[in-house]
């Protein structure tokens, strides 16, 4: 069973609330769900859609063909009717649309009328549609009550009741007016968690002891801030909206200096303003975690869409030379784990650590039976009292074997914590001599890098162990490449190699992935950008040049359908 429902309409029509309720419903009923969103940079009007895919098996990507189209306006019928399968159906609002074709099947519902006839108001029409969809899929409607209850709780019990009624009316409308059914077998498990990338990164921060988050709003990164803000009071986190991105990163550094785990988040244009601050983190050796949620550039680009085009900018952003780690999770669960690892390494090595996400990862919801919390770690690497006070002396940049100087908290003890953006001596004071400079570069850069390299996990291989065709990917394309690999593997010698820990670039000691690359007859780098940035990085780091690039840079993610199409010619 593999059903996709696409809800189309204008911004402001509430397609998101319908989609979210639907996803929750199936997830709680024990189905796996994958949702993705496509929306414009405007508040009202235009055209957006929300897609929900449902299956009893785990899902990690979207399809182009759909089974049900819920069209809230005529525009949605025009744009999407051709992707509805023959067996599918278009449900639309009778007041705003017409479907003047015979295939696929269609069902007109006077949404507002049904709502008012059920003693609701016109604005409850969305719940008529929601009920109708559940009717079409032959679901037990009871499960939706809780969800409506949650969504409308702060509007009062009466409205909750009305909305439940209205959903029921939509459900009944379908039972009475249509024979079309999409059979969905009853699920066997107890229900899943539903999580998108933004939520995952904010959970990752929360569970890593992040106590301060400063940011300036920027789509598609704002979700992280919103999610953390919602947890602020409960978990004692200060979330501060800065006057600009420069302030955001400098505030995070000030807070980190002050002794708390600190983070900032933004998208490419905002990150551009942060690079001086990143370099400051490098020089002062102040731990900080930075989430960069990519969108298509350059400049303002396509503000609400997706792209993987800031990889090289993140790797080399900031003047001068200093170590950093860069992670690009491929799924919400990876996002939790890697955000946790970013916080850990940022503090352990006193460096900036990056989470590279994008609009696609940020907004897509994945379903999970359970999230792994056992492998999450929390170690407080800071030097606090009573240890700190006991020290006979303290130097912020003490030179030692590891390059990692003790990280004390100012004000905790009588020892002073002196940090400096100029080159400095062990005490943190300005110097200009060559010998101290050399010593500090050695400490700050070389020694730490040597150790950092050992922290990085190998890329993940999925599929054939000795593949002829090797698909390379990184970050958010994980899910779709995985699904495609799994589809193709039975008939082809194919595998995928996903890089989620990008920098320092994974060593191939433990896992000789370079050998796999050498042995494959086709190595195909799949990237949601125009430049093939990962392929460049791979060559810079290993000398290996891939045989083929598959790039997509129209602001839309790869879907299983289109990636399969793209790969067709290489399958021989």
């Amino acid at each position: 069973m593999d059903i996709s429902i696409r809800i189309g309409g204008a911004a402001g029509q509430g397609i998101q609330s319908i989609g979210a309720a639907l996803a929750k419903f199936f997830c709680r009923s024990g189905f796996h769900v994958f949702t993705n969103q496509d929306y414009m940079s405007r508040i009202k009007g235009g055209h957006n859609f929300y897609q929900v895919r449902i299956s009893e098996l785990p899902l990690s990507a979207a399809l182009d063909e759909i089974d049900i189209l819920l069209a809230l306006d005529q525009n949605s019928i025009a744009i999407h009717h051709h992707v509805v399968r023959e067996t599918g159906i278009i449900v639309y609002d009778q007041a705003t649309g017409t479907a003047d074709f015979t295939e696929p099947a269609s069902l007109a519902i006077p949404l507002a009328l049904v709502a008012t006839e059920a003693n609701g108001t016109k604005i409850m029409a969305n719940n008529v549609a929601l009920g109708a969809l559940l009717g079409l899929m032959g679901q037990d409607l009871a499960g939706i009550n809780d969800i409506i209850q949650q969504q409308w709780a702060n509007k009062g019990a009466e409205l909750v009741r009305q909305n439940i009624e209205v959903a029921k009316a939509g459900y009944d409308f379908v039972l009475n007016h249509s024979d079309h059914r999409l059979a969905i077998p009853p699920p066997s498990t107890k229900g899943y968690l539903l999580l998108n990338g933004s939520q995952a990164i904010s959970l990752g921060a929360l569970v890593s002891g992040c106590k301060f988050y400063a940011a300036y709003p920027m789509t598609p990164s704002t979700g992280i801030m919103v999610n953390l803000a919602a947890q602020a009071k409960k978990h004692g986190i200060v979330v501060e909206q800065a006057e600009d991105e420069i302030a955001a990163i400098n505030m995070a550094l000030g807070a980190s200096y002050g002794g708390v785990r600190a983070m900032t988040g933004t998208s490419g244009g905002g990150f551009a303003l942060m690079t001086e601050g990143v370099s400051l983190a490098g020089m002062t050796e102040t731990p900080v975690v930075i989430a960069e949620v990519q969108r298509p550039g350059p400049a303002t680009g396509l503000p609400t869409r997706t792209e993987q085009s800031d990889l090289l900018f993140i790797l080399y952003g900031g003047h001068g030379e200093f170590p950093r780690v860069v992670f690009a999770p491929g799924s919400p669960s990876q996002a939790i784990a890697l955000t946790n690892k970013a916080f850990d390494l940022a503090e352990k090595y006193q460096i900036p650590a990056f989470i590279l996400s994008d609009q696609y990862l940020a907004d897509c919801q994945w379903s999970y039976a359970e999230l792994d919390t056992d492998s999450l770690t929390y170690t407080d690497y800071r030097l606090r009292n009573p240890e700190l006070e006991k020290l006979p002396s303290y130097q912020r940049y003490q030179v030692n074997d590891t390059g990692i100087s003790p990280l004390a908290i100012p004000g905790e003890s009588s020892h002073l914590v002196v940090v400096d953006s100029d080159e400095h001596d062990e005490d943190g004071h300005i110097i200009e001599d060559a010998a101290t400079r050399n010593q500090m570069v050695e400490k700050r850069l070389f020694k730490k890098l040597r150790m950092l390299r050992k922290e990085i996990a190998a890329p993940e291989l999925i599929g054939h162990r000795q593949p002829e065709i090797l698909l390379l990917c990184w970050g958010s394309t994980y899910g779709v490449v995985k699904e495609v690999t799994e589809i193709l593997e039975p008939d082809h010698s194919i595998a995928m190699l996903h890089f989620s820990e990008l920098f320092p670039f994974p060593a191939s000691e433990e896992f000789a992935y370079l050998q796999l690359l050498d042995q494959a007859s086709q190595t195909i780098s799949i990237e949601n950008n125009a430049g093939g940035q990962f392929a460049k990085l791979l060559r810079a780091e290993t000398g290996f040049g891939v045989s083929t690039l598959i790039n997509k840079y129209d602001g839309r993610p790869f879907t299983t359908t289109n990636l399969l199409g793209e790969l067709n010619e290489f399958l021989g």
Binding site: V207, F212, A214, G236, G254
Partner: protein, 286 residues
């Protein structure tokens, strides 16, 4: 050696002999001693410039960050530790040029930060370009047509933003006892306290010299009422033959960090992280 110099002894200053910065440094040390503030009990956050080197020349916790970015770092530090006394030290280029936006919003926030701007009306460290406070139409090597912009009046700006403490000091010998008082008042003020300090630059400002300032500077009369915002706005525009110093404006406004409940009992940096509770959130989510 004076006891203040001993207790707060720092690196040897790289300033020019005769620079007004020395007087500001020494006054600050005296104030710290007189207020009984120990070196580890305060942090100086600074940017880049001659003024911004100051923390190295005393003994304290120091965050000597980027040019123009003093205030965001100071704010972040206060969020992390609202029991720390945070002084922000900047030059006029640092604070009114590169860092202008942060000044606006730091004043609006009204966090408990003490901002001392060494206003020498010139970019000292980079060798004499016009700063936002440079008198028109001073020609410089980078202003071929002269400095043509209206000089920024930092006090008027601060008052317009309803800054809760706005003062001007003078770094000449005659002004130091007064500067001492201003610094103490700033430290005792609840909220954001801002002192613009007139400081001579012997190397690059040949217009606003020590003597130029000395001849003009005087103290606001005892009867002056710093609670009157309109009067403060008018008075702070006096500039020319006579230049007033003192507290121009002071008001009580909610202090930003005091309004954040979770900071009320324990500073963030001392709050114990409950890893297990946080982990529960992960699977409790949805």
């Amino acid at each position: 050696m004076n006891s203040w110099d001993e207790i707060y002894k720092g690196q040897r200053p790289a300033w020019c002999p005769g620079c007004g910065n020395f007087a500001i440094l020494n006054t600050l040390k005296k104030v710290l001693l007189e207020e009984g503030i120990k070196p580890h009990q305060f942090t100086i956050v600074s940017g880049i410039g001659q003024a911004a080197k100051l923390p190295h020349y005393t003994k304290c916790n120091t965050f000597n960050g980027l040019h123009g970015r003093t205030l965001p770092v100071a704010s972040g530090l206060r969020f992390a530790n609202n029991q720390m006394l945070v002084l922000a030290v900047a030059g006029d280029g640092d604070c009114y040029g590169e860092g202008g936006n942060h000044l606006l919003h730091a004043i609006r926030r009204n966090m408990n930060i003490k901002l001392f701007v060494h206003n020498n009306q010139v970019y000292g460290l980079t060798k004499g370009q016009a700063s936002p406070t440079t008198t028109t139409p001073t020609p410089t090597k980078t202003q071929p047509f002269g400095a043509l912009s209206e000089p920024l009046n930092p006090l008027a700006l601060a008052i317009s933003l309803n800054c809760s403490f706005v003062a001007r000091g003078f770094a000449g010998a005659s002004g130091l006892p007064h500067l001492n008082k201003l610094m103490k008042a700033a430290i005792h003020h609840k909220g954001f306290a801002f002192i613009d300090i007139l400081q001579n630059c012997v190397s690059f400002n040949k217009v606003n010299t020590f003597h130029w300032y000395k001849e003009r500077v005087y103290q606001l009369e005892g009867s002056y009422d710093p609670r009157d915002r309109a009067a403060a706005f008018t008075r702070c525009q006096e500039w020319g033959d006579r230049i007033p110093t003192g507290i121009f404006y002071q008001c009580q406004r909610p202090v930003f960090e005091e309004q954040i409940e979770i900071l009320n009992k324990t500073p963030l940096t001392k709050q114990i992280f409950d890893f297990e509770k946080a982990k529960q959130e992960v699977n409790g989510f949805s």
